[in-house]
């Protein structure tokens, strides 16, 4: 039995009287992709913020490598090798690739008493890091982040996290805003990261994307784990239905069609909440 890189044990999180996370227990091993699925408002963001040290769990424990850890601030989690990549990846659209890659950890040369930002090294390292992930289109470290496509930005952000020694990679909806082709780029990079022995936590609500890369799936509904299963244990339809909170989403299409036929082409009114 391998020790999971990151493990949550009965984690609860509440903001005042509101319970956001309820008794979450999860494990992720090195070289494994854990897909965290859930509809909007299911508590995915709170969960990743807890993992990244932004929030402290109200109760419950976080373990890393068989050792209990306590993240007081995001830096603590980052120091342990937990890296979060957000939906829009590159956050500095007007900075060059090389410069933004090394924000906060700039490579410097010293000439006399002067520290000099080593642009050449920065650009070369950044370009090399991202090309190793198969994005050969990025070849000039002077290009601005804002000029990259969404997929390239995500890829760059992932390559950056891996370069700086991430052991747990939290990807927050990396494919949500992307087209089909771009999304497949990102998924390939997720697999590459996995191959390098990184534990990946992949947050999404697109079941197809999750199915493509996931080893292990967890479905979050209203702050609680509704399901926790391995690859091939459930079909895509079952997962989609789970995410929708048990409502059979698959039947929705035919339902609407029937309704429209009998109502002169008008779609059905939304159900009362």
């Amino acid at each position: 039995m391998t020790t999971p890189v990151l493990e949550l044990r009965n984690v609860n999180k509440s903001f005042g009287p509101i319970d956001v996370l309820h008794d979450i227990s999860l494990k992720v091993n090195a070289g494994e992709v854990l897909c965290l699925l859930g509809d909007n408002g299911a508590g995915k963001s709170t969960l990743i913020k807890t993992l990244a040290g932004v929030h402290k769990p109200t109760s419950g424990e976080i373990w890393m490598d068989g050792e209990r850890v306590d993240f007081g601030k995001p830096k603590d989690a980052a120091d342990r090798g937990i890296a979060t990549v957000h939906q829009f990846g590159g956050t500095f659209p007007l900075m060059s690739i090389g410069r933004s890659f090394f924000v906060g950890v700039e490579p410097v040369k010293k000439i006399g008493p002067f520290k000099i930002f080593d642009r050449k090294t920065a650009n070369e390292t950044a370009v090399k890091a991202v090309q190793e992930f198969g994005i050969t289109r990025i070849d000039d470290g002077d290009r601005l982040i804002g000029g990259l496509s969404g997929g390239e930005r995500q890829s760059l952000a992932i390559a950056r996290a891996v370069h700086f020694g991430a052991r747990v990679l939290i990807l927050d909806e990396p494919t949500a805003a992307l087209g089909v082709k771009q999304a497949s780029h990102v998924l390939r990079i997720v697999l590459e990261a996995k191959k390098r022995g990184i534990a990946v936590i992949f947050i999404t609500h697109q079941v197809t994307h999750a199915m493509a890369v996931g080893d292990h799936f967890a479905v979050l509904i209203r702050g609680a784990l509704a399901a926790n299963f391995m690859r091939d244990e459930k079909s895509r339809e079952e997962i989609t239905d789970l995410m929708a909170g048990g409502e059979a989403l698959a039947d929705l299409g035919s339902e609407i069609e029937t309704y429209m036929e009998s109502h002169e082409g008008h779609p059905p009114p939304p159900p009362a909440e």
Partner: protein, 349 residues
């Protein structure tokens, strides 16, 4: 080369690390637009003002103006790149000027003490600005308007209280006069030299040192910058202090040049410095700009400001040109920035 695969050509491109100074690459720099503006304005005045504009006296007239604004515009531009504004400089300049004049002129303290006190005023106001901005999270535009009025009021109050008037006089000694108030060749203010020094320091800070990267990151996205481990609060405070210091420096040297200090004066620097910076290609919302651009912007502004007197036009026309120039500058800078961003899409095709 046509048969080379994409990855091969990519590898060769990354291998040649020396960037080619192509026209396209220059056009993508933040200062591209401001350089064109400067060239256009210079040509305009060479045509309409004639020989006098390119004579040493002509150069001196706008260089002296440029130097004073430039010393203030540089830190204002860097603050703007970091996503902040500082309007309090308009009050710091007379405050520092008057402090020096009162301490050394009115009370007769050694000049070094007076100069030191004047510069300390700038650093202090900068520190207060920085602290207020990071503690209150109120936009720096508002914070510095607040401190501007406070400093203006305090300057007036103390000036009247201590000297009984709203101005003070100082007769600078030989050393201070030589260092801060000298006219080289009878026409070029020594301030020009200080402007060049400031520009070199700022260029090093922004473009060469790793701190420059922090400044761009801070202006791009404050939260991400902090998450990346950048000491954003210390950096913000430092930048406000630099801007306060530079404004105070201009104030002190004004006292030395004009041998007197008034409570009013300095207000013009607020808008003028912001205009120089924006004409120079700095993005008003932060994250984009360059020191050389700010210098180009300052020169452009000063040439229009002074050059109009050498032409046969009504001097009031100068303001109209500056206004139009500002708009044109922002528009062209926007398109140059788009060019910089779209550089990848072109490469793909």
């Amino acid at each position: 080369m046509a048969t080379a695969t994409q990855s091969k050509s990519a590898a060769s491109a990354s291998g040649s690390s020396k960037p080619l100074l192509t026209l396209g690459r220059i056009a993508r720099r933040p200062e591209a637009g401001s350089f064109l503006g400067m060239a256009a304005v210079f040509t305009f005045f060479v045509i309409f003002a004639g020989k006098i504009f390119v004579s040493p006296a002509g150069f001196a007239s706008w260089l002296n103006v440029a130097a004073e604004i430039g010393i203030v515009a540089l830190p204002i531009g860097i603050l703007m790149i970091a996503g902040e504004l500082d309007l309090s400089i308009g009050a710091i300049i007379p405050a520092a000027s008057l402090t020096t004049a009162v301490v050394s002129g009115h009370y007769g303290a050694p000049e070094a003490v007076g100069i030191f006190a004047g510069l300390a005023v700038g650093l202090l106001v900068g520190l207060v600005n920085g602290l207020l901005v990071i503690r209150t999270q109120v936009p720096s535009l508002i914070v510095t308007i607040g401190t501007m009025f406070a400093v203006m009021g305090l300057t007036l109050g103390f000036a009247v209280l201590l000297t009984g008037s709203t101005s003070a006089f100082i007769v600078p000694g030989a050393v201070s006069k030589a260092v801060l108030g000298q006219f080289i060749g009878g026409m070029f203010q020594i301030t020009i030299f200080w402007w060049i020094t400031a520009a070199l320091i700022m260029a090093y800070l922004l473009h060469v040192s790793p701190v420059g990267n922090w400044i761009f990151a801070l202006g791009g996205d404050r939260v991400s910058a902090r998450n990346a481990g950048i000491p954003t609060e210390r950096l913000t405070i430092s930048l406000f202090m630099i801007s306060g210091f530079c404004a105070a420096f201009v104030g002190v040297s004004q006292a030395m040049v004009y041998q007197s200090a008034q409570v009013a004066g300095g207000q013009a620097f607020i808008f003028n410095s912001i205009m120089c910076v924006v004409i120079g290609g700095v993005l008003l919302t932060g994250g984009f700009g360059s020191v050389i651009g700010i210098i180009f912007g300052t020169i452009t502004f000063s040439m229009v400001n002074q050059g109009i007197y050498f032409t046969g036009f009504d001097p009031n026309l100068g303001s109209v040109i500056i206004g139009a120039l500002l708009l044109i500058a922002v528009l062209t800078n926007d398109s140059f920035r788009q060019l910089a961003l779209s550089y990848s899409t072109k490469k793909k095709s």
